[in-house]
Amino acid sequence: MNLRMAGSFLAGLIVFGVAQAGAAPLLKFDNVVYDFGKTQGISTVTGTFTFQNDGDAELQIRKPAPTCGCTVAAVKPETLAPGAKGELVFSLNVGSSRGVVQKHIAVPSNDPVNPTLQLTIRVDVVQMYEITPQFFALGDLTPGTTTNVTVTVKRMDGKPLQLVSATASSEFVHTKIAEVEGSSGHASTVNIEFVAGGELRRFNEQINLLVEGQTTPISAVNVQGRIVGELAVTPERLVWGIGSLDRIPAARLETMLTRSVRITASKPGESLLLKNPVSTLKDLNVELVTLETGKTYMVVAKLSNAPKESEQGIITIDTNLPSQPQLQVPVSINVIQRR
């Protein structure tokens, strides 16, 4: 009897041992690649990966980790009994990408076979319209200057383009549409003329492109630059972003505390004279350096002490120009001390 009981106990333990040795969760996705194929006219794709626990122990899935900030993924449920099914829902922002976009999502779990499983999302983004270029940086322009640039617009799905308008955001921009010869109506050019009129300013004009039968623009083209008058200031603002001063090597402290602004006469033949650089910030010393007499100057701004707090100020410089007797350079000091 005792021997029989001992035998049964031994057999039970052996069976238990076998069961323990073999029991494991097994994460099995129906597909590990989600291929959207060609897509057009969308900026985000969403989809669902389905999976199940094919093992014989409880499966625990941890937070999925996309390899791109453009992807968001969530899994439900996070714990699955053997045989149970679940879903991983994702969305991928393809933005203005073109061509094949391929991203991955890592799925960590307690599956001993594959503790981190990789899923793949693939999209072939086809833009219906190809607009080149979409952005023009015209740089510094003097008042009255006229600048012409050309944009080419193509319809990529084989249908006629039918570009009916290119509407500008201001009176200083004029546009003209012309069909590209030999394109069978699939492509047009848009000539954009920018006249540097109005006040001295930084400008960013937008031209909206509209095709037949649609009320919203297919896209926009931006034309950007600044009208500088008789002098150009670069950069237009001085910004300090300061971290931990005690982590900066002494040899580099001078560089860190110093900034400079370049001021150049933009009107040919006119002699530019600058004087009296003044800062409204008491710890900011300013010095005027002549790089080319009558033409180019440098204002060197140096902090005498490392600032402890953020502050804003202005540097002013007197000029000999009747149209602009004084110029101002805003100063922004931003301090974030590391703990």
């Binding site: 052996i14 040795a21 073999g22 390899t67 076979v113 793949t120 950069p235 560089t255 974030i336 590391r338």
Partner: protein
């Protein structure tokens, strides 16, 4: 003896399981290698250098993610220049930059290419000293470095 027998049986079973390595440890299946970033060595800034430049305030950090992502959290002092809105937003940061400015662009994730695209655009506009901090937002947070939230100051 009984326990030893159970262990032996268990080990025997494990030896025939295909999902376990001979050592008994789970086999680590190779991960899918992220696509090789199309960046030259000189176009990438290491985290240690980025941190140093940030401390000194001598580099401009540009966040190439969407405005919403920037507002949710960004590297302190960084300026927002979403790659998607580059044409309409470049004018916001241009007044701060000189052509020789040290610029560090970043986004989030090892496979995020927004910063790569922003680098190309800025270089095309004549800023040669642009570099990418790969997986910048995640790496910066992981390092416990200063962050901020909200819209551009």
């Amino acid at each position: 003896m009984i326990v030893a027998a159970s262990l032996l049986v268990g080990l025997g079973v494990n030896a025939f399981r295909a999902d376990l390595a001979p050592s008994g440890q789970p086999r680590r299946l190779p991960l899918v290698t992220p696509p090789k970033a199309d960046l030259a060595a000189g176009e990438i800034v290491a985290m240690t250098e980025a941190e140093q430049l940030w401390n000194e305030g001598v580099a401009f950090f540009l966040d190439s993610r969407t405005s919403a992502d920037y507002q949710a959290g960004h590297i302190a002092h960084a300026h927002s220049l979403p790659d998607e809105d580059f044409a309409s937003r470049y004018g916001d940061v241009e007044p701060l930059l000189t052509r020789d400015a040290e610029i560090i662009v970043y986004c989030d994730g090892v496979e995020c290419d927004l910063s790569h695209r922003l680098l190309e655009k800025l270089r095309a506009l004549g800023y040669p000293r642009v570099r990418v901090l790969v997986n910048g937002w995640s790496e910066w947070r992981k390092a416990g470095l200063p962050t901020a939230t909200g819209a551009q100051p």
